[in-house]
Amino acid sequence: MILLATLGRRLLVAVPILLVVSVLLFVALRVLPVDPAAMSMPPNATRDEIEGARRQMGLDRPLPEQYAIWLGHAVHGDFGRSIHLRRDVLPLIGQTLPGTIELAVCAMVVASVLGLAGGLLLFSLRGRAAEAVAETGTTLLMSIPEFLWALLFIFVFGVLLQAMPFTGRLDPGLERPVVTGFLLLDALLVGRVDVFRSAAVHLLLPAVALGLAFAPPIMRVLRSSLLDVYHEDYIRQARLRGVSETRILLRHALKNAILPTLTLMGVQFGFLFGGSLLVEVIYSYPGMGNLMVDAVRNADLPIIQLVGLTYCVVVLLINSLVDGLYLVLNPRLRKR
């Protein structure tokens, strides 16, 4: 009940936030020194023809009026047409977003598993000689960005060992089933094991590259919050009751130490979503990142606008989700 109330409140707050972001995006894109009208015309177009296109696009009107028109269309689900691709923008997002979500979620799973396991390992090494080695190791891991992992993996697994594919989402010969847009899910829904395997293999390198870059901070935070928690009275009291060390770590300490870690993971997921852009480009992965890069290259304002908004929506959703999880895991927040 309280969970639903919190989520509801979160979504209510999301509306004004989205409006503010849309205004910021709108203004920022209009002050850029690019002329979408000129770029949409053939190179031999006359000044009058360009001017006509400007009028047709509504670019000659004052900025607030332009925004009002855009907003009026947007609330009816019309986010305009791509200048370059000459298609409606919303379906473009619909086609690319699921791929990016799939990549980001898989990367987050990789980051979480590695981060939590690494954090527990680091913690269990405390006070031993190996601790210094492990610390140096995480610092090294922390300083390697996702695109470096991506390139490294292509070189080792793709080129050197030729064990893994490193472009696209599927083997060329396979036909892509479309039910929800999420490839892994769709393959299972239509019962195509071969498609699922191929999609999974294609996802592996980008997801691990992205996840590896985000795992080290999770390790660090989990380790230090475990160290903090071990100073708490309830840990000592559990020991005094004869509770075993394994049980103390996994049942008593981890349940408390996971809370700050969860906050970090929520923040990270937002960054990770943005970070997928580079990885998508490197692996020619048809997601929102690639769409965005193309749109920026072509000054395709409607696409940039909607991708920006989508990014904002995703971050807000993740925040609400983390808040909800926090409520589930931390009874102190569930006031009676």
């Binding site: 309830y234 075993s244 009874p331």
Partner: protein, 598 residues
């Protein structure tokens, strides 16, 4: 045979590669079914003994010699798995801070269930039934509902009952209770002690009771061990040890405690503090000698053995102990100057609201409070936690704004919210906070801290003037001028509290609001503080609102007392009159909860 017996037990800590003793050749014995009290100032090694029982010593600490026998088996040399089998089953622990000793993310039921699994119960139903029985045994109502709750939904007293229920659930043979009531209100403290005594009698449990509260120890212990600097200085039956102490240290501690009955007497302020671990290694002879009022030359060269039959003391001159005394202290005459009162509070209320926009709930933390404080008068506010004492203090200082009512300070209304009223309040009233550790900025030097008030209101005070004022203040507090260049972390607890008070006195206010400024201090340091406050009162002539839960301190220090209960002042009057003939039921409960005289 004794249930628990320490034989020449020594514990050391390694500091910079050097082994520094923490417990020295300790010998003590606890018989089955008896209560042994360990008393002494903080740092005496009381808690270390409890930790040695569980072999959960802090990093760097280790047992260097001797043994600690439990039921004929040495806990020190026992295999860890075997010792863990004893913990929670035959040996149980009751902690100091009940609110933090339960895991906040697990329900009470989950934690009790885990304990019963450890005790070897397999059936889920059986464990649940046992948990309910255990909670009922500690007089917690609605046990079934309680099992579904989380620790933060319970009060401190309830948490402690849950912990006691868990401790006694296995009918242990030994219970180690480390300051089990220090964090609780006086009235709850009395209930908890009764409960422990009840369960202890039921199971014939032996209790190792660690406390700094001599009065409490005198009430519940069969035998007493007085520890100083890691060694036993006096031990014997409680009646004898407190009735006629043989060691000067015990006597001094006794005299440092303000009395609850009879004539008000001066406090014996033991000088300085117990030396730190490192300093102790350098002391030859009796380690108490530097602070001892009857020490002679021989005490500084000879380490006295624990001597005597039944009632033992480690002192060469124990025949002089009884001669240590302090005179009666007359309370300075309460100021009747016939002028207007310094502080006049009328109809003061504070309402706190919480909850969402639609489901707001309000609590009246302070309701319709009226009282006066005359110039130079010390007035106490007593009551249990949540009674609104601290909120009242914060309202006076303008740290909270009142929902209703008026505060007149030296004839001027300070609740009107103008800048002039604010300046007036700052000039007239200052506050001393409870915990000097967190009240003093750790990055500033003492000299800057105590003259902080000179920075207020954009006034320009020269560096020389500030240094001069800092020197004066430190001298008044009985601190050496070199302290000015130190940071708070380089001071002892008592010194820090002096700095804390000095800061409030910098601009010579007429009213001091002091929130629990002597709780949490050792009784010797507390005696130093109380003596200091009385001297400063004579010299600086300020009034004080003294918020406290310790009635004996209030009796010693304050002219008048306000008793607060659920936000209201239920009784007020001259301290002696209120303590001798309390009118309100709540006051009677408070007074009855204080353990009788030593």
């Amino acid at each position: 045979m004794s249930l628990l017996e320490a034989r020449d037990l020594s514990v050391s800590v390694s500091l910079d590669g050097q082994a520094v003793p923490v417990l020295r050749r300790l010998n003590l014995a606890l018989e089955p079914g008896k209560v042994l009290g360990l008393v002494g100032e903080s740092g005496a090694g009381k808690s270390m003994i409890g930790r040695t029982v569980a072999q959960l010593l802090p990093p760097g600490f280790s047992v260097t010699s001797g043994s600690l026998m439990f039921d004929g088996r040495d806990l020190v040399r026992m295999a860890p798995a075997r010792r863990r089998g004893l913990l929670g089953r035959d040996i149980a622990f009751i902690p100091q801070e009940p609110l933090t000793a339960l895991n906040p993310v697990l329900t009470i039921g989950a934690q009790m269930d885990e304990h019963f699994v450890h005790l070897g119960m397999t059936g889920r139903q059986e464990r649940h039934a046992r948990a309910v029985t255990a909670l009922e045994a500690v007089h917690l109502p609605e046990a079934g509902d309680l099992l579904r709750r989380y620790p933060h939904q319970l009060s401190g007293g309830m948490c402690q009952r849950v912990l006691i229920a868990m401790a006694f659930a296995s009918h242990p043979r030994l219970v180690v209770a480390d300051e089990p009531t220090t964090a609780l209100d006086v009235t709850i403290q009395a209930h908890i002690m009764e409960l422990m005594a009840e369960l202890q009698r039921r199971d014939g449990t032996a209790v190792l009771f660690i406390t700094h509260d001599l009065r409490l120890a005198a009430r519940i212990c069969d035998d007493i061990c007085v520890l100083y600097a890691g060694a036993v200085v006096e031990q014997g039956p409680a009646r004898k040890v407190f009735g006629l102490p043989s060691h000067p240290y015990t006597r001094c501690l006794q005299l440092a405690n303000p009395s609850m009955r009879g004539a008000r007497r001066a406090l014996y302020a033991l000088p300085e503090q117990m030396p730190g671990l490192r300093a102790l290694t350098g002391i030859a002879g009796c380690r108490f000698a530097p602070r001892c009022p009857v020490a002679a030359d021989e005490c500084r060269s000879l380490d006295p053995p624990l001597a005597g039959d039944g009632h033992k003391a480690a002192c060469l001159r124990s025949e002089l102990t009884a001669s240590i005394d302090v005179g009666d202290a007359r309370r300075p005459p309460a100021p009747h100057r016939g002028q207007k009162p310094l502080l006049e509070v009328a109809g003061l209320s504070k309402r706190f609201t919480s909850g969402s926009l639609f489901r707001r709930s309000a609590t009246l933390a302070v309701r319709d409070v009226s009282f006066r404080i005359g110039a130079g008068e010390f007035v106490a506010v007593v009551g249990e936690s949540g009674s609104g004492k601290s909120t009242l203090g914060r309202l006076l200082m303008g740290l909270e704004s009142p929902s209703a009512g008026r505060i007149m300070l030296a004839g001027q209304d300070v609740t009107i919210g103008t800048e002039a009223a604010r300046q007036h309040r700052i000039r007239m009233a200052q506050m001393v906070f409870q915990d000097p550790q967190s009240a003093l900025n750790p990055r500033r030097r003492v000299g800057a801290i105590v003259t902080q008030a000179l920075e207020a209101g954009g006034q320009r005070v020269s560096r020389d003037a500030r240094e001069r004022r800092a020197g004066e203040l430190l001298a008044e507090m009985g601190l050496s001028p070199e302290m000015a260049t130190r940071t708070p972390s380089q001071l002892s607890g008592g010194q820090r509290q002096r700095v804390n008070i000095a800061r409030a006195l910098c601009t010579v206010p007429k009213l001091l609001v002091a929130d629990e400024i002597v709780s949490g201090l050792d009784v010797s340091v507390q005696a130093q503080m109380l003596t200091l406050l009385q001297r400063l009162r004579q010299e600086l002539d300020f009034a004080m609102l003294f918020i406290s839960h310790d009635l004996s301190v209030v009796r010693h220090l304050c002219d008048r007392v306000l008793v607060m209960y659920r936000g209201e002042i239920v009784e007020q009057g001259a301290t002696e009159a209120v303590f001798a003939a309390p009118q309100h039921d709540y006051t009677r409960t408070l007074l009855a909860a204080v353990p009788a005289e030593l």
